[in-house]
Amino acid sequence: MRVVVDRTRCIGSGQCVMTDPEVFDQDEDEGLVVLRTPEPPESARERMRAAVALCPSAAIRLEE
């Protein structure tokens, strides 16, 4: 599973970081999303789906 984020869309809500801090983070400079783990383990799939649903600006995508 591969996670893709689009920083130009991100509004820094932090909802993805709240959902899985192992995978998502926010950078110090702008507070926008950065990926810590672009290819999370299969066990994180449900959390990744939740992050996609929570993101207010459709900035997160899952590629199988």
Binding site: I11, G12, V17, M18, E30, G31
Partner: protein, 399 residues
């Protein structure tokens, strides 16, 4: 008495259970999910707007760039919207992006975590003060308000001693039963107060948020930008959290089994706060968008220029969001993508701070006063029926 005015539909709650949206809103959600209503703010009795009540429509509208937050050419701001300067909330991208970017790094999950210790101290101080003064207390005045006011004052660099004045102005701003002139005056006073503060930080940027904005973004943010952002953060930063704390406590007092979970299980607190946010949806009016072109919503045509009011309380209790008993409070639920903080690019900038305050303050209060109870019959509690942000007028308690 403003209270005797009929409560406009979007703000209406159920009499017998004032935490729930009115039955009429619930009926509309299933029978006429996009309906035509009079504009809830009484400035123009002839103006009709759309009311969206379904989760999917409300969420869709808030994320749809064809819907704008900017006041239309025919619409004096003060007529339909809160009379605060439009700032961030009243502009669309790319202008919105320019104003929001400088704020995002201030409200990250990590940034807010760094404030936790200070929030815990503020909460502990207020609880100690309540205990010293002894029962009874007004939980709103003595706890729910001072906590977020202190937090936002320290964060922004606003002197706490000025709170009396900005509290009064912010109440006026958000009360739609008051005259437009009165609200416009409060908006102007808020801006004047913030202008003086901004000038002080321009001359000598302090270490707090306003000073940081001046130092790091002073070249791209004008004084008017800073005044708008500062006012919005000051009002948005305390009204909402304060009302969530007081109304949330009242709801828990009426739901003792749920209260016990929040009090006794530290791991349960974060999901419980999400459920309280969803269930209460205190921003019950104010999310308004204007169609910039013809758009079909729920099978009906919204024409370019028309306004749509999004009902967050109704959306957050839609079965499309939560198939299983959406009207039941269940603090142990797995969190769902509720819209209590909005959705799309305007979704609340302060949401992580609000979460931290609620997650710290609620269990601390319930643990300090395990015997907390109402000091008046439940039926006597009065609510902010006409305010953009819902809540109680006061909350008499004892322990």
């Amino acid at each position: 008495m403003p209270e005797t005015r009929p409560v406009p539909l979007p703000y209406r709650r159920e009499r017998s259970w004032p935490f729930a949206p009115a039955a009429e809103l619930v009926r509309l959600r299933s029978e006429e999910p996009l309906s035509r209503i009079p504009m809830p703010i009484p400035a123009d009795p002839d103006l009709r707007v759309w009311l969206a009540t379904r989760y999917s429509d409300v969420r869709g509208i808030m994320a749809d760039p064809r819907f704008s937050n900017a006041p239309g050419p025919d619409e004096p701001r003060t007529r339909t919207r809160s009379a605060t300067p439009p700032s961030l909330l009243g502009v669309d991208p790319p202008e919105h992006t320019r104003l929001r970017r400088p704020l995002t790094r201030e409200f990250t999950v990590r940034g807010v975590n760094a404030m936790r210790t200070r929030i815990e101290e503020i909460v502990a101080d207020r609880l100690a003060a309540m205990e010293r003064a002894g029962p009874p207390a007004d939980l709103l005045r003595d706890f729910a308000l001072p906590v977020p006011v202190l937090v936002i004052c320290e964060l922004l660099g606003v002197p706490y001693r000025d709170r009396g004045d900005f509290r009064r102005r912010s109440d006026t701003l958000l009360d739609h039963s008051l005259g437009q002139e009165e609200r416009a005056r409060a908006a102007e006073e808020t801006a004047a107060y913030m202008r003086a503060l901004v000038q002080r930080h321009r001359a000598d940027p302090g270490p707090e948020l306003l000073g940081r904005l001046v130092r790091e973004h002073g070249a791209v943010l004008t004084d008017a930008d800073l005044v708008g952002l500062g006012s919005l953060l000051l009002v948005g930063g305390h009204e909402t959290t304060a009302n969530m704390l007081a109304l949330g406590t009242l709801l828990l007092l009426r739901s003792p089994d749920q209260l016990a979970v929040v009090r006794d299980d530290p791991d349960a607190v974060a999901p419980a706060v999400e459920e309280l946010l969803r269930y209460l949806s205190i921003v019950h009016f104010g999310v308004i968008r204007r169609a910039t072109e013809d758009v079909t919503v729920a099978g009906r045509l919204v024409r370019a220029g028309e306004l749509v009011v999004c009902s967050l309380p109704s959306a957050n209790r839609d079965r499309d969001l939560l198939p299983d008993q959406p009207d039941r409070l269940d603090v142990t639920r797995r969190p769902v993508p509720h819209v209590a903080f909005g959705h799309g690019v305007h979704q609340c900038v302060g949401q992580q701070l609000a979460r931290a305050e609620l997650r710290i303050a609620l269990p601390a209060l319930l643990r300090r006063f395990p015997d907390l109870r109402l000091d008046v019959p439940f039926e006597r509690i009065r609510y902010r029926d006409h305010a953009l942000v819902y809540g109680v007028v006061s909350l008499p308690v004892r322990w």
